[in-house]
Amino acid sequence: MHRRNFVKATAISIALATAGFSSLPAVAADTIKVGILHSLSGTMAISETALKETALMTIAEINAKGGVMGKKLEPVVVDPASNWPLFAEKARGLLTQDKVAVVFGCWTSVSRKSVNPVFKELNGLLFYPVQYEGEELEKNVFYTGAAPNQQAIPAVEYLMSKDGGSAKRFVLLGTDYVYPRTTNKILRAFLKSKGVAEADIMEDYTPFGHSDYQTIIAKIKKFSSEGKKTAVVSTINGDSNVPFYKELGNAGLKATDVPVVAFSVGEEELRGVDTKPLVGHLAAWNYFESIKNPTNEAFIKMYKDWAVKQKLPNAATVVTNDPMEATYIGIHMWAQAVEKAKSTDTDKVIAAMAGQTFKAPDGFLIKMDEKNHHLHKPVFIGEIKADGQFNVVWKTKGPIKAEPWSPYIAGNDKKKGEPEVAAK
């Protein structure tokens, strides 16, 4: 509410830029509006609220350095409330009423799927900051999170390796929606290609917001007792993770017996959990707060200062995580692309995005692929420590290219690694 105007108040000096103005005529001459579309209430608020804060922080950082093309960025924050159809409505509002140049937002794939047609129809631009299942390549979307080959596949390979515990049986556990279902489909095909039998894979789903994990834990216990080393791959999303990990700790299922590797659990989600019984359980991401390098130290400090300045709840204990880093990278890359294109026009920015690079907190110079709208990212696997942070136990040598179309799904070999351009 009050944030919508705080940038305006500071933006007084105006550049003389006349050429290459945005194709959106209603954009105020003195600012560029950018939309922030994250759930600030409901089951996904646990994960998405921090992304809104990161976006606002990054925008403030860019504005402090003079903005983009001499103009300040003006954030427009809306709350789609973990309600998927509402995401589409709010996205339409951002594009048609607020006339934003770009939208940073969404966490769950179901929310992204619900806004995709809107961005396509209105030729908007969305930066999506979360790891996801792939099987999608929209011209109007840039994916700054991981594709399956940048997270899920390496994580399972690690579990099968000697250091990961040489797992032979797998429990694929998820929240019941498109991301876990598709990821598990890919993983199932991948495991089969590695010679894991059908009987050694158990797949189970729970609804969004599910809070009673007794049955699931009992099932995992039973499954793991039937011989061979078992590991759990969790794609549980949102605040269900808190009761899941609580139950896991209370039931005494230790990481040395049955390790759980999670794809949607980071530092932020673990804040609400006593992590002592969870030591050794894993998460696979492209960034951890515990990674040591100067860029990351600056990033963490910037966010901590921001939290104190904005008086966020529990400001003293805020953490950074992978999707926050991806949001940070996305906004900076977009700003660079706008500078390069000298315009906020969607098509010009898309063209300018190809090959953009950015020195990211993960310690690498991250590159946006020339064609496929995904970042080249390094992969890290971390074990939960008693203080809720992660110990990196495995990492790739450098950034790897995303494969949005997983080779483990039949028919994908024929798909092109770039968005289909519709005939005009």
Binding site: G42, I46, K219
Partner: protein, 500 residues
């Protein structure tokens, strides 16, 4: 070498005269897990007096490498340390330590441990530890070249409660793994016994989780059983009263964090009366301002209370923020107790089952043994007549509604310990609460108890087979059919609501 040695032992200053080879300590800091594991094995085998403490601090992350950075370990290394420590602790003076050590060994036992285990069995005095040791010894001797020892081993495993042994025995009963027919037969017999015991264990576990779910449903629904069941108010804001109880618990926790951090573990008992009073106070306000003008008009009540629920949710959002708040279980409520081998009952769930029984007793006593309860029942059954004999009906309505709201607040305390606490948490329970009250029969406390039990246990048994999503659907379908056939619910009571 000397200076590295000193750095490594920063965490172990009292062992500066350590006897463990310093080269092994540097090897512990190696990048490669294989190197680390070799070092751990050598340290364990050295049986030096400080071996145990070195491994323990490595496991706790307190051991530093020559550069002063903590040595990182992964699960594989951790497993190795646990195993090595367990062996070192096998002759510990404390029986509890020995029991845990044997349990740890049982997860990773091999034939080389047999002589050591034999020695441990001979020395063991504790019955429980000894029984487990015999079992682990059997596991270690399963591949013994002597067929009599193998036979003894598979026979000994028949009494095992460890589910892992089921598959071990099953493998042993296959001809490709075991040449002797007699051993195979014995292995199969033992397998059947272990399997049968496993089935019992599983069902006990399911009944417990069913009971746990039932206790939560009951706590959520008990307040509604009074406001809707007895008074006939269709209270759509009931879920928000649960939420107020949960936020009151959060408030008490915050106060304890700030002012009595040492007593933080005891915030829950303090939160119980606070949550009751907070929710009851909101109940009084709701009744006095809105609901009392709508008695006897169920449709308007429904709409008005729905509006109230939105107001309460929004109010919570404004005061506490839209994000879930963090509630930590007190330490006496974390972890679980092993009631039978293979069944760990989480303490927070045991607490909630006990708490729901306490609240149930409280409500029953209030309604059946006190003057207030008598008045409430009198007003319910015949308002006019109750007024004639001098019962202050309007005030009784307020008190009864406040009581129902307060009980919902108590439910909120319980929910805060297992579920997420956020502004819209109540929305998830309103349907369940109405389900329990309607299924049980409006106006009946006993009905609510039976309905909660039935729904809880049934849900858990369906979940085990069909999964959580299908279980939810099946339960709702069942209730629709049940209400069609028997609209008055399990138990029916005559009252003003039922008659009108």
């Amino acid at each position: 070498m000397r200076h590295i040695f000193v750095t490594i032992l920063v965490a172990l200053s009292s062992f500066a005269h350590a006897a463990v080879d310093t080269r092994l300590l540097t090897q512990l800091a190696a990048e490669d897990s294989d190197e680390k594991i070799i070092a751990i094995q050598k340290i364990a085998q050295s049986a030096e007096p400080d071996a145990k403490s070195i491994l323990q601090s490595l496991a706790d992350g307190n051991l530093n490498d020559p550069d002063g950075q903590p040595i990182t370990i992964n699960n594989r290394v951790r497993r190795e340390i646990d195993g090595a420590l367990a062996v070192l602790k096998l002759f510990d003076p404390s029986a509890v330590v020995r029991l845990n050590s044997v349990k740890e060994i049982s997860t990773n036992v091999d034939a080389s441990m047999a002589p050591m285990l034999r020695k441990a069995i001979a020395q063991e005095s504790d019955v429980k530890v000894k029984a487990l040791l015999v079992e682990v010894y059997a596991l270690a001797t399963l591949k013994d070249p002597d067929k009599d020892i193998r036979l003894a081993a598979v026979t000994a495993l028949a009494t095992s409660a460890d589910p892992n042994n089921k598959s071990v025995l099953f493998e042993m009963s296959k001809p490709e793994n075991e040449a002797e027919t007699a051993v195979r037969m014995a292995a199969f017999r033992s397998y059947l016994q272990v399997k049968q015991r496993q089935t019992v264990v599983e069902n006990v576990g399911r009944v417990f989780s069913g009971l746990s779910l039932a206790s939560i449903l009951l706590l959520a629904a008990m307040g509604l059983a009074i406001t809707y069941g007895v008074m006939g108010v269709i209270n759509m804001a009931h879920g928000e009263l649960l939420m107020i109880g949960a936020y009151a618990t959060f408030g008490v926790q915050s106060i304890f964090r700030t002012f009595f951090p040492a007593q933080l573990d005891w915030y829950v008992p303090v939160a119980i009366p606070v949550a009751f009073l907070a929710a009851a106070a909101v109940g009084v306000v709701l009744e006095r301002t809105v609901i009392r003008w709508l008695y006897g008009r169920p449709l308007e009540t429904l709409l008005a209370t729905w509006g109230l629920s939105l107001i309460l949710i929004q109010a919570a959002r404004l005061i506490f923020g839209a994000q879930n708040v963090e509630l930590a279980n007190p330490s006496w409520m974390t972890g679980g107790v092993e009631v039978m081998p293979g069944i760990v009952l989480p303490l927070n769930r045991i607490f909630i089952i006990g708490f729901s029984l306490f609240v149930l007793t409280l409500v029953w006593v209030l309604m059946n043994k006190t003057r207030l309860g008598m008045f409430v029942r009198a007003v319910t059954q015949n308002r006019g007549m109750a007024g004639c004999v001098g019962v202050p009906t309007a005030r009784i309505d307020t008190v009864a509604f406040a009581l129902g709201a307060g009980i919902a607040g108590l439910g909120g305390v319980a929910l805060s310990q297992i579920a997420n606490v956020g502004p819209d948490m109540g929305q998830g329970y309103i349907v369940d609460s109405f389900m329990v009250v309607v299924l049980g029969g409006v106006g009946q406390l006993a009905g609510a108890v039976w309905a909660a039990l039935g729904l809880g246990v049934a849900t858990k048994f369906i979940e085990a087979g069909a999964g959580a999503v299908v279980a939810k659907i099946l339960v709702l379908v069942f209730i629709i059919i049940f209400i069609q056939k028997r609209p008055q619910g399990l138990f029916a009571l005559k009252g003003r609501f039922v008659e009108s």
